[in-house]
């Protein structure tokens, strides 16, 4: 889907460990004319964010290896200016509280 050798400052990064959801979100944003770079593993995204400018990332909160909140915490140190949208299929009392860093938008309603 994305060429890893080319970074575009206008592209949106997507992180989700479910291949079907990741692919469908890519199509959804692409249908709005948005450039997208996808990552099935949070580690791959964090490595990318360490070497490229990432204006916006959309990350799932519940992933097998690492939670979206951990991605958020580590990203804050690597790339503090990146805007983060954390998405989830279900509400959690703690999640919005932990998503209160500047630039973080907690969005619960994406998964219906």
């Amino acid at each position: 889907m994305s060429n890893p050798n080319q970074a575009d400052e206008r592209e949106v990064c997507l992180v989700d460990d479910d291949p079907s959801v990741l692919k469908s979100m890519h199509y959804l944003l692409a249908s709005e004319g948005i450039k997208v770079r996808t990552f099935g593993k949070a580690e791959d995204f964090l490595a990318h964010a360490g070497t490229h400018r990432v204006p916006v990332v959309v990350t799932d909160i519940w992933m097998d290896q690492v939670t979206g909140l951990e991605v958020l915490a580590r990203l804050c140190a690597i790339s503090p200016k990146t805007r983060v949208i954390v998405i989830t299929a279900r509400g959690s009392c703690r999640a919005p509280l932990q998503c209160d860093r500047p630039g973080c938008l907690f969005h619960e309603a994406v998964r219906r």
Partner: protein, 280 residues
Amino acid sequence: MRGRCLKDEEGNLVETIGVTLDVSAQKQADLQLQHQREEMAHRNRVSLMGEMTASFAHELNQPLTAIANNASAARRFLERGNIDPALLQQLLQDMVADSQRAGEVIRGIRSLVRKEAGVRTLLDLNAVITDTVRLVSTDVLSRESVVSTELDPQLPQVNATLVQIQQVLLNLIMNALDAMEGLPPAERRIIISSRSNKGDVVEVSVRDFGTGLPKEKPDKVFDHFFSTKQKGMGMGLAIVRSIIESHGGTIVGENAPDRGACMIVRLPAVRGQTQTVAAA
């Protein structure tokens, strides 16, 4: 019925003596006991499902989200009037695949809820472990715990009922999660291992780092109505043991040398049936 014939010196039949025993009551009692066991096992499965609602919701939400996203994307591409037919084809194909995936999830839930546990088949326990761990993954994550697997790639198959083996694993995983509730999240680990003992026995162990089993009599946890949980009925491990024993296997509980409990299930292997499955 038992009997014998009495003959004279020339071999002619002179008398037949017989006795009939009515074992209907015994048979009826056995059937009733079997029915009660199945009923308890079914209640245990339904109760487990109640503890796993987060995982089921997640399993179903993923394909449904993908379908909704793909349908919205297709509509927007069409509205913009620039959709490539090959892309539309791809979006539709993905929607079909995801709706089939959602159907599989529902079928899996139904098989666990159904009263009848199903029939015995040749099972690859590594695959059953991997599928079961995936099934509970959201509940494991939401309880800030980690499950890892160490699977023997040369594990022989076993002759077992899939739903019952899933039920055993789910009980052991849920117990392990409960036993680690008081620990800091970084220490909440479950290790599920499989190995075969000279090809005759398949061994599966579920190890946690929680409070451990009663020191004096670790096997007491398999007794009916024994529970260390405030809300526990004390039936889960008793049912687990009856399932394993009905498969000709055994289950033992041990305390690990450092801390935590290790439940070891042993089932007879089916000779000549070895599966090669990549560890999860």
